[in-house]
Structure formats: C-alpha cells, structure tokens
C-alpha cells in the first residue's frame, strides 16, 4: 500500500519550469495556500496558473512565478478586487486568458474526459472570443446552432486543499462547496492534495462526517501533505473562516511597493511553512492587542 505523504517542498520538487498548474478552491476560499507558499519559496518560473482565482493567483503572479494566468475572475471575496492581480495586469506583467466561469468548467470536464473540446453556449456574443482568438466555434451537426468549442484545460499538475485525507490520497471536502477540485485532479497528469489533517483510512469516514464529502479519490492523487491551517488566509470551513484581518493587511500592503516589500519579508520570504505559521500567530497576537 502506497503511503503518499510528503512535505510541501517535496511536492514542489516534482514541479518544473513552464508547467501548467491548476489550483482548486474558489476566490479566497479553501485554496491550497501551503503549497502555493512552497512554490513562492522555490525557484520555479514560467508557470501557467489555471484557477478560479484568489490570492493564489495574486501571489504567484506578483512573485513572478506565473508567465500566464487562466481565469474567469480573480477576487478576495470580502475584498472584491485582488490587488496583486490588478498590479500584474495593469502593468502588463503577465499573459492573460479570460474565460466565463461555465466555459472554464466545461474546459475542465473536457480535459477530465480526455476530449479535445466540449460545446457550450457560454461565451457566444461576448468579447471573451474577441480577446482570445484561439477560441473557435462549431456548428451543431443536429440543427442550426453555432456553439463555442471550449478547448480542454489540460493540466500538468493540480493542487487542492482538503479538510481531511488519508495517507493514500483519499480526501474529504466537508465545507458547503466542493468547487471543482475533483475535476482539477482528473484534468491533471499529477495531483497533490494538502489537508488540515491526515488520518488512518479506518478513521477517514468518521473524520469526514458523511460519505458524500469523500469526493477526492486516491486514483486522482499522487501526493498527500498534512498542512494544518494550510488554506490560510483563505477560508476552510468548517475548520476555520477567512482571516479577514490578515487578508486586509495583505491587500493593503499589495497596493504600496514599500509596504509590499515589508510584507514579503515578514511572511513570504521565510524558510518554511512552519515559519510562516509562526509569523501569522505573531501577527494575530499583535492584532488582538
């Protein structure tokens, strides 16, 4: 029986420059931030990031890890606009591909099903097709409807964060929305799941609470990382909500070059995930005063 447990840095060691990396979660919700932070600590570059975007996209792009962003939106939810995403877009620092949310889902499904494309109505009439000339339409073979042929969003790697996993790579998404995480895994050559807790298989169902939450299966995943508070500062219900004070500090810093340099120094240019979590605990203590 394969024990797939590894550290965030071991996951990153399996990635290489220029890869297409899909990231689960949605906006500032249940993002695999411990894995994102490990990429930030590495010398990886030229990544294509495919995400229903939140601070994962903002951080990787601002740090120069991403050459290209594929998204339908990038938002911090309680703060609607992601300041680092704004920074890289408004300064022309990344290539961008913008899809509709449903087109994005259709692209993941096509990749998961090993199809070159799937048809969808979404996108027709909009400038999504104008700004992305690689998108083509297709005539229905059954009637006179013209549809978008949404290309498969094939991923080299998917990174997701779960509430609980076992050491073999099964995982539960126990919050109110599972987003597209299982599809990200199926659309990828290799998928890595971080989790708040890793428990023995015998205890997984009990820890998950309900069999319907066990939607990430071990045939989808190639590595498991135990990362408590690993979605911070995004939310990971029911374990914890978004760290709004920290997110606000992040957003405020990102809007000013000097403040951003200080934020990076304190929270991102640290040697490990443990050092990050210690800096966050220190921040929380200061904030409570």
């Amino acid at each position: 029986m394969a024990d797939k447990r590894m550290t965030p840095d071991q996951v990153v060691a399996r990635l290489s420059d220029g890869m297409t990396v899909g990231i689960g979660g949605w906006g500032s919700r249940r993002k695999p931030m411990a894995l994102v932070r490990a990429i930030l600590r590495s010398d990886l570059k030229d990544l294509t990031i495919v995400s229903y975007g939140g601070p994962d996209v903002g951080l990787l792009a601002r740090a120069g890890k991403a050459r290209k962003l594929v998204y339908a939106f990038v938002s911090l939810d309680s703060i609607p606009l992601e300041p680092n995403f704004r920074h890289v877009r408004e300064n022309g620092l990344v290539e961008a591909v913008e899809y509709d949310e449903g087109m994005f889902l259709t692209g993941l499904r096509a990749a998961a099903q090993r199809l070159p494309f799937l048809p969808t109505r979404a996108g027709l009439g909009s400038d999504i097709l104008t700004v992305s000339p690689h998108l083509k339409t297709i005539e229905s073979p059954y009637d006179d409807e013209t549809l978008v042929a949404m290309p498969a969003l094939n991923l080299d790697v998917a990174l997701i964060h779960a509430n609980v996993a076992d050491e073999r790579g099964n995982a539960a998404l126990t919050g109110p929305d599972q987003f597209m995480d299982d599809l990200f895994c199926l659309a990828a050559e290799k998928a890595y799941v971080s989790a708040e807790r890793v428990v023995p298989s015998e205890e997984l169902l009990k820890a998950a609470g309900c069999v319907h939450t066990l939607t990430v299966h071990r045939y989808m995943t190639h590595g498991v990382v135990e990362a408590p508070n690993g979605a911070h500062f995004t939310e990971c219900p029911p374990e914890y909500g978004r760290d709004e004070a920290f997110q606000k500090a992040y957003a405020t810093a990102a809007a000013d070059p000097e403040a951003w340099a200080a934020f990076e120094q304190r929270f991102l240019k640290v040697e490990s995930e443990a050092a990050y979590q210690a800096a966050v605990a220190e921040f929380a203590k200061e904030n409570a005063k």
Partner: protein, 257 residues
C-alpha cells in the same frame, strides 16, 4: 395610508421595490441577486408577490422564509444544496434570473465587469468576466447600478463580458434564450421594450427629473413622451424591508437618503 408612505419611503426603498418588480412573474426559478439592494429586492419579491422564487444565501444554501440580509445558515430553513458547479449547470437550463452590477453598460445592454481600458493591458483591472457571458446568453438578466452616471452608462463598453441585444441577435439561434429585462439605478428604471431593443426610460424615481437621467446617461436613451414615476413601496412592503429583511439599514449605505 398612501400619503404617509410617500413621505416615508427613502430612495433606497424605491430602488428595492423596483428590483423586486424585476422578478415579477418569474415563478419557480432561481433568483440570483448580486449585491445589497438586489438581495433585499429579490427577498421582498418572494415575501410578497413572487412566493415560488428560489433564493440562496449567495453561497451554497437554498432557503425558505424571509431571511435578514447576512443571516447565517442556522438562522433559516435550508432546503437545498446549490454549490457553484450546480449553479453553472442549472443556468444553462435557463431556470435562473440574475441581477448583476456592471461597471459599464451601453444602449444595447452590453455590459462590462472585467476590465476598464484596453483588455490586453487594462487601465483598471476589475473582476474578470465571471459568469457574465454564460448568464446573459442562457437566461434572463437584470442590472443594478447604485450610481447612475455617464461613466457607467456609456456609448461603448471596453469589454463585453455580458451580452447585449445586438450581440445576442448576431449569435443566431444560440441567442434565443437571451433577455435583459431591466436596469434599475439610483435614479430610474430602464428597459429594452422598444422595436430596436435600445434602452428606454421606463420610470423615474420620485424626486428625479427626466432631464437629470438624460444628463447622467452617456448615450441616447429612448424617452417616451410620458415618463411615469417609479412606484413607491406599500406600507406592508416597507414594513418587511425595515423590520425583517434589512433592519440594519444596509440599503441606505448603497443609496443614501
């Protein structure tokens, strides 16, 4: 007491009622309001004349009953699970009416929620197109604009995230489900009930003149000879809004009295 009501109702209350009226006749479909006044308006519609409308908390829970703005799932009757993936599937079935907030909209109802300026390197990056393209081509859409201005209601939008009537017509049969019902602003109600499907002034809110609306609009509106005044919510509607749906008065932050 209609006289009392007239003096009582704030501009925000008029906007809430105008939003509620957008959902009139929708029946048993999903109402998806984005933002404060749209959320209160959709809940008011369900509390009064549109009882079959299905509403979620904006995240994953369908609920029944009249929930206060910002109520948590343990404060209302949860009757369904509607995660984003299912929203994106159901919207293609057409059983949904969304109300979005555009940063730009033109006379044909093309709307931008993505980026201001050249999309390739925008002057101001906003959200991205989100679900706008799929929403507008698949089902009924309305818009809410809390600050009516010529910068928002503009001759040409920088990025068509949400499809207007001219663009939908050009898609052929795929555009057959397209409908932009109304645009509610802090000044007036607009619709597209014209032969040319060009935006028309449907009513002005009490205290607002037609000239004021024309002045604050960056393109030529269709203005009928007689422009009615937007309706003032009834006493019962006002009571529901004030006591049940928005006791903290969040609507007044969006549209000050």
């Amino acid at each position: 007491m209609s006289t009392d009501t007239l003096t009582d109702a704030t501009r925000a209350d008029v906007c809430v009622a105008a939003v509620a009226d957008c959902f009139r006749g929708d029946g048993e479909i999903i109402g998806s309001p984005m933002g404060t006044i749209p959320t209160i308006g959709a809940r008011l519609a369900r509390a009064t004349f549109e009882p079959d409308l299905m509403l979620s908390n904006g995240e994953s829970y369908f609920f029944e009953g009249d929930a206060r703005l910002g109520a948590k799932p343990d404060e209302f009757a949860v009757v369904g699970w509607i995660p984003y993936r299912q929203v994106l599937d159901v919207l293609a079935s057409g059983r949904r009416h969304v109300m979005m907030g555009p940063v730009q909209i033109d006379a044909h109802g093309n709307a931008n929620i993505s980026a201001i300026g050249d999309w390739a390197r925008p002057k101001r990056q906003v959200l991205g197109s989100r679900g706008g393209p799929g929403n507008t081509i698949n089902h009924t859409t309305s818009y809410w604009i809390p600050k009516h201005s010529a910068r928002v209601l503009t001759p040409k939008v920088d990025m068509v995230s949400c499809v207007g009537y001219d663009r939908a017509a050009a898609t052929g049969s795929a555009g057959r489900f397209h409908e932009i019902r109304r645009v509610v602003t802090n000044l007036c109600v607009l619709d597209f009930e014209t032969d040319t499907k060009v935006m028309r002034l449907r009513s002005v809110h009490p205290g607002v003149s037609v000239d004021e609306v024309v002045e604050a609009t960056g393109f030529e509106l269709v203005v009928p000879a007689e422009v009615p005044t937007s309706r003032v919510p009834s006493d019962e509607e006002l009571r529901i809004v004030r006591e049940v749906l928005d006791p903290r008065g969040m609507r007044l932050r969006e549209v000050p009295a």
